[in-house]
Amino acid sequence: MSGLDTFLQVIWTFLRLSLFSLGGGNTLLQEYHHLAVNHFHWITDSQFADLYALAEAAPGPSSMIVGLLGLGAGWPHGPLWGLGTGVAAEIAVLLPSTLVMVMAALSWSQLKDAPIRVAFERGLGPITLGILFSVGVTVLRTADHHLPAYLVSLLVCALMLFTRISPLYFMVVAGLLGAVGIIQR
């Protein structure tokens, strides 16, 4: 495949998924993994885990992982293709949801008591819940392959739920554990 083919494939992939990012965008992670690793073979399994960690660690919305996936898809055709594909991927994933959101912002007050709004708010919540659990399990299986890694993940999960410590500290400590070889691939 040429760089242009990959570029177009990436744009179409993310345009298509945009409106299915319920619950703040993280619901799509599992789909990203499936498409980027298993279906299109843009990147490897462990690269996906790395990119997810980088997007979480970097400042700004973590949904910018899409830019990194685009970068990875275009990279084999050269850094410039990588950059262009990364930017295009991010624009593609944001465009449809932004258009819908603009319409929502302009018309929301009129929908205030409409039954469809109530059904939408209450009905999509449980679906989002199921998707988020599934995403968590998929990322866990992609990232961890040994007991120490699983233990660190479960500990971080518990700390995220029961404390208000910034996740950046967890990443720094876990990075050190990796550097000294306690957590291995």
């Binding site: 700004g60 679906i127 550097a179």
Partner: protein, 188 residues
Amino acid sequence: MTAAPQGPAPSRRQLFFGMLQVALSAFGGGLSAWSQRIVVEQRRWMSNESFLTGLTVARLFPGPNQINMAVYIGAYFRGLPGAMAAIAGMLLLPFSLLMLVGFVYFQFHALPAVDRVLTGVVAAAAGMALSMGFKILDEYWKDPLALLLAALTFIGLQFFHLQLIPVVLVGGPIAMALYWPRPAKPKP
């Protein structure tokens, strides 16, 4: 919108720089808290009430929450061009930085030292991903129907390897129908 904005409506340029300020302030995290502080308290563009309405709409509709919030603020004042200005302001610096990080990653990730550190970071990030579902679980804890729908969605995705789009297209309308508000029946 029940409360009027407190100051004059911001221009597109002001929206861009306001969101740039939010993104810069939030480099250590806490993006929505920072946008509230800057948009409501410092720049007085919106009342707190309108801001919270925006946050609800942003969570509800597809798209990343923080970016949807920027879209809401931009569109509230200047329609689609305002939304574009707000997104550009919010993403310009973090996205450029992330692309730079990505460049460095693809150039150097084969180095053993980099790979070992990342292996650790990845385990922590996986723990964060796992916590997302648990975080909203207690909202639904007392609602057996919601738990059933969530369980079916989970099983379909994890064990039957269904794709997300069909799951949402089929499960979404079913869930909405089950939660459609019924008018109270008049008692005979």
